[in-house]
Chain length 235, copies 3
């Protein structure tokens, strides 16, 4: 990236020299944007670029609808934020995070390096998403949920189907590392999914599931009891 | 990336300002290449660079054998395409796709963000590869196959062995998200592998397998029947 | 990245035009650093940047403590190496490798593309780490170990817990593709973990485990015998 800031952009935060900011993007006060791309146009708009221009950078800027970053967001190097993405205040991204058009990330959420929000994805408040997570179009992650590294969610039960259904992860749910969540599955509020599990059915609130396919093993209450004992022992 | 276009390159498409194009790379008409690296030299050539030059960019350009992009290809920002890669027409890449030297991608195939073709990999026509897929040296994916997000294939049965064997995925096969395919495994034409499965043996054409390790569960015919019913129900 | 070399940096190797080198980073003789970021400051230092400066690049450089690359290291494009990372001699990185502050990579080790060392991670000598591997804070990988593509390790048994425990992988151990290693698990010297396994308990030295959860299936001696037969047969 050569560094480019659109004349249409409103920049109130600090932006690195190599950042590429397309279209009427708004970067609020207290933000830090490193060498990242913000306001990248969607595919249809790319095609429009191809037909009419020989300067791709100018053309991408011309067609971009821009993105919005609320106050005090951190966007590290290598991130790519599409147009029509809305980040509320105090959102923090690792490196190389990819967020497609139409996604919303609510205040205080953190997203780890190389994680993808690959379509219209809703991330609630204070969600903690680790690295290498894949969230397809129509995924919803509610407030205070935790997603471990490498979690993969899916939206197409019979690829390539005409109807896509994103999973919904309830508030305060915990999804262990590398778990796979099948299309349209609802993980209940406060539920826990063990690392490496493949979740093929809905999970009831405040239950713990594990395995391939995932089965109920105990309750969230029991999980919290074990956690407290572990923390006591480990100091 | 600072933006660099080799004097040896032939550029007929639209190239972004930050793109880095090494060696006698050919970019055909109707292509769009964003801030990506094309024609990157292999390791042996890198070593040659180290010994003779203090300007790495010039030296990488001097030794590069170039890559070939057919008409109407799309290469998004962050992609790295090595020298001696051949992409036919209408190939579309997401962001951060890595394609190593010797790979061939045939016409109409799409490859999702952060997917790696890590050696000589053959991708047939109209293949649909989602994000975060890992395909090692000697993998073959035949026409019209579908690979879900996070699929990982392997080529080394007893690491680190002297003999590598890539998997072969038959035409029209469907590989579910996060599935692992062991070295040298043949997935038959039209076969289906369930999400999260670990496939340790060959899969017969038009069968559906699932689990760790994957076992046959029903036929492709039954899969297509279920899919049709699902699509009817979901509208 | 626009290309930036700190006045405080000591550069004895070859550096590409788009490389970004922050702070008192030392790049030893025989190194090749492509369009990568070296010496990136940690989060606390980023915050300091936000409060005092409008030129992020200058500010990141001012606060950076720098990194150290020993002789003959190769750092490919897209890598991000934080401050206080120490790489001994002849370390080789693929593209897009992320190494966080406090990590040490000892001589002769190789790390594949888009692999993350996400915290203080110790990599021994001549370790072979493939692509897309995730190693969290406090992970230790001892000499001559092999990690297949997509291996994910974890450090938080009950997320989000107050006490983190990284796994330890013994010398000469082999971890198959996409395996998941749970927090604090010790994989013994020379042990082998099958592809796609989820390892929930310690693994004894020179044993082979497989499955979800992983169980002992045979000995390393038997593995080596099978490997020798396979290599004889496959030529």
């Amino acid at each position: 990236m050569l560094g480019f800031i659109s004349k249409k952009a409103v920049i109130r935060g600090v932006v690195s020299r190599g950042a590429v900011i397309y279209g009427p993007t708004e970067i609020s006060e207290g933000c830090f944007v490193d060498d990242a791309v913000i306001g990248y146009p969607t595919r249809g708009r790319l095609m429009y670029v191809l037909e009419k221009s020989s300067d791709a950078t100018e053309a991408l800027d011309e067609v971009s609808l821009g993105a919005y970053l609320g106050p005090r967001c951190i966007v590290r190097s290598g991130c790519i934020i599409y147009e029509e993405v809305m980040m509320e205040d105090s959102v923090e991204l690792g490196h190389g995070v990819l967020i497609r058009s139409g996604s919303v990330v609510r205040s205080g959420s953190r997203i780890g390096s190389f994680t993808q929000l690959d379509g219209k994805v809703l991330i609630g408040k204070n969600v903690n998403i680790q690295s290498n997570v894949y969230l397809p179009h129509l995924t919803k992650i509610l407030d205070d949920a935790f997603l471990g590294p490498g979690v993969t969610m899916t939206n197409d039960l019979y690829p390539v189907a005409s109807s896509l259904k994103g999973p919904t992860i309830g508030a305060k749910a915990i999804i262990g590392s590398r778990a796979v969540i099948l299309p349209g599955v609802n993980i209940g509020e406060g539920a826990v999914v063990g690392a490496g599990s493949v979740v093929t059915r809905d999970v009831k609130p405040y239950t713990v599931v594990y395995g391939v396919p995932a089965r109920e093993v105990y309750s969230r209450e029991e999980y919290d009891r074990r956690k407290a004992m572990y923390e006591l022992k480990e100091g």
